[in-house]
């Protein structure tokens, strides 16, 4: 059983890495989501595979015997919830980014770090990437 799980983790990690290394920003975040699933499988295996019996103490007894380890299940559940929220956020982010930047090529995304046009001098980002100066007051007019 552990070998089947290991093989699954291997395939999932490979798929996730291939996607995450893609130039396409959308594939990149999907790859991270797939990697997250692989990590959850690893976390699950960390508690050892064995019995599949539910971790419930039988009536009249005080100890748990021959049951699956419940802790990794709790950990994986937490990780799934967090991972789901982050994947949702990243999809919304990437959609907006593609709309605004008009490209989905990660190599073309240079807005935050513009390429220098001089071999020695660092680039100047340009005023369009700086906060508006002078600051506008809450009522809309300049201070």
């Amino acid at each position: 059983m552990i070998w089947v799980l290991a093989l699954t983790v291997w395939v999932t990690v490979s798929a996730g890495v291939v996607l995450a290394l893609s130039k396409d920003v959308f594939r990149c975040v999907l790859g991270l989501g797939v990697l997250g699933s692989a990590v959850n499988l690893v976390l699950f295996a960390a508690g050892r595979l064995g019995s599949a019996a539910p971790a419930v103490v039988p009536l009249g007894e005080t100890t748990l015997r021959d049951a699956a380890n419940p802790l990794p299940q709790a950990l994986v559940l937490t990780a799934i919830v967090i991972g789901f929220a982050l994947v949702c956020f990243s999809l919304a982010l990437v959609l907006r980014l593609i709309q605004r930047a008009d490209t989905d090529d990660a190599l073309a995304l240079r807005a935050a770090e513009p390429l220098p046009d001089h071999p020695v001098k660092p680039p100047y980002a340009g005023e369009r990437h700086d906060p508006a100066w002078p600051p506008v007051s809450a009522t809309g007019g300049p201070r």
């Binding site: 995450a20 920003v25 990149c28 975040v29 991270l32 990697l35 997250g36 990590v39 959850n40 690893v42 976390l43 295996a45 960390a46 508690g47 050892r48 802790l71 990794p72 950990l75 937490t78 990780a79 967090i82 929220a85 982050l86 956020f89 990243s90 982010l93 990437v94 907006r96 980014l97 605004r100 930047a101 990660a106 995304l109 240079r110 807005a111 935050a112 770090e113 001098k121 660092p122 100047y124 980002a125 990437h129 700086d130 906060p131 508006a132 100066w133 002078p134 600051p135 506008v136 007051s137 809450a138 201070r143």
Partner: protein, 484 residues
């Protein structure tokens, strides 16, 4: 007083909920946010008081005994860091009341800021490895929210890069946490520290290097720091100062906790490797800073460079080294945040962050020029400022252990740090403004900014002239960690 251990999470969390509910009414939201940070400060001071009397505040949740329940334990190290977190939160919120690069004001800005404090406070307070991962995720989601709410294309670009690399880091952390559980059978810090020495050397090396890789991405260490200078400069100033002060330092704290406490008996090879990583981090960070002319980007590269010094203290694997690390971290958080805030005041007065387009501030605002020198020279390590004491502590221990190369690199990097701080001072304050018709704007609302930066400078000066109090505290804190 075990309930106090929860306050680093509970107080900011309540503030998040309250400020979110009040987002339609900016005045009420502002007041709630101030009340929250004052409450956080009070709880943090109480925690330091408790920890100082060797009564670390502890609580285990859900009626489960240690080591099975999730435990919060605020010892000396954590308490000091929680206090500095609250202080930074207060400075950033105060600065938000000025008009120096604080726009646009999104209704979710304050809830997300407090959300970052929840994540940072939780990471410092928890004594459970999986719980630490959860707080890292809380920090990540609030941080990407703060990056994205501006909505400019460069901010979205920065959000994407920050998100992808940090997400990769947290996935690695999750695998490493799984491996720790698989080998030791525990997630509680105390239980791991007891179980770790029984593992074979190579298992310890493997498990700890997984944890370290994840934490070093978060700390922004060489060669994993690319996300930091790619994104930080797009943030509005108070948020930037908060991030610069706190986020990477949580990664450093996690490294300190795992190497100085949980796996203190790990093979020396890993500590040696961390030392070289630290030296490379110092050098490459400062070289990036020397190249750039945008103040925010210069200072962002200096965060990376200074992380190197802090990691060097951990790599020395001794009580003195760990104490130096804590001292350095506390000094550095204050200084770094202050530098970013002062840079924002310069922006308000001159209209640009790019040093090639500004100048002449010394003539019109000499007080600001002097104020800038306090954190700038402290960052370099000029005596008697706080940076001198922290560098002295780290390098003294490095020399005592015979690590000449690391010491030479550290001193060389100090010279380059001096160069880039003087570059900012000469270009922004001393040289005449490139535009002859430039006038210093008269109608500015800078008094909250002055108050915040002067307060942080006062903290720096207090550490500078009374280093003994903080040093004694750091040494006592290092003793309670499980150093070899």
């Amino acid at each position: 007083m075990s309930a106090l251990a929860v306050t680093p999470v509970l107080v900011p969390l309540v503030t998040v909920v309250a400020t979110t509910l009040a987002q339609k009414r900016p005045g009420a939201q502002q007041a709630l946010s101030y009340a929250g940070i004052v409450g956080f400060l009070a709880c943090a001071i109480a925690l330091v008081g408790l920890a100082h009397q060797d009564e670390a505040a502890r609580v285990a949740f859900g009626g489960w005994g240690v080591p099975f329940g999730i435990e919060f334990a605020v010892d000396r190290t954590s308490a000091a860091l929680v206090l500095i977190t609250a202080l930074m939160g207060a400075a950033a919120l105060l600065f938000l009341a000025s008009d120096a690069d604080t726009q646009p004001r999104h209704p979710l800005l304050l809830p997300l800021l407090h959300g970052v404090l929840v994540g940072v406070g939780g990471s410092f307070a928890t004594a459970d490895l999986f719980n630490l991962y959860v707080w890292f995720e809380v920090m990540l989601i609030c941080a990407v929210g703060l990056f994205a709410i501006g909505g400019r294309v460069d901010q979205l670009d920065a959000t994407f890069k920050y998100f992808v690399l940090n997400m990769f880091g947290t996935l690695l952390l999750l695998v490493a946490v799984g491996m720790v559980y698989a080998t030791t059978g525990h997630l509680n810090y105390g239980a791991i520290a007891q179980a770790a020495p029984q593992l074979s050397a190579w298992v310890q090396t493997l498990v700890l290097s997984g944890l370290l890789l994840a934490f070093l991405i978060k700390a922004g260490a060489f060669p994993l720091f690319a996300w930091l200078p790619a994104s930080y400069h797009t943030l509005p100033a108070p948020v930037l100062a908060l991030f610069a002060g706190l986020l990477t330092k949580v990664g450093v704290y996690a490294v300190l906790r795992s190497m100085g406490d949980l796996f203190a008996t790990a093979p020396g090879l890993l500590f040696e490797a961390l030392g070289w990583v630290a030296a490379a981090t110092m050098l490459f960070g400062v070289l990036g800073a020397a190249y750039h002319w945008d103040m925010r980007r210069i200072l962002a590269f200096h965060i990376v460079s200074q992380i190197g010094y802090i990691l060097l203290g951990i790599a020395l694997a001794s009580e003195a080294g760990n104490a130096a690390t804590l001292f350095y971290t506390l000094h550095h958080i204050v200084v770094k945040a202050n530098l970013f805030l002062i840079a924002a005041m310069v922006w308000r007065l001159t209209g640009s962050y790019d040093l090639r387009r500004i100048g002449g501030l010394y003539k019109v605002r000499p007080a600001l020029a002097v104020l800038f020198l306090v954190p700038a020279l402290s960052l370099v390590g000029i005596p008697p400022l706080s940076g001198f004491w922290s560098k002295l502590l780290v390098l003294q221990e490095a020399i005592a252990q015979g690590h000449v190369t690391w010491t030479v690199v550290a001193l060389l990097v100090s010279v380059l740090t001096l160069y880039s701080m003087m570059k900012i001072w000469m270009e922004a304050f001393w040289k005449p403004h490139p535009d002859d018709g430039w006038q210093c704007p008269a109608a500015t609302r800078l008094w909250p900014a002055w108050l915040a930066t002067l307060g942080l400078a006062a903290v720096t000066l207090a550490i500078s002239f009374y280093p003994q109090a903080l040093l004694d505290y750091s040494l006592a804190a290092a003793q309670t960690l499980g150093a070899r």
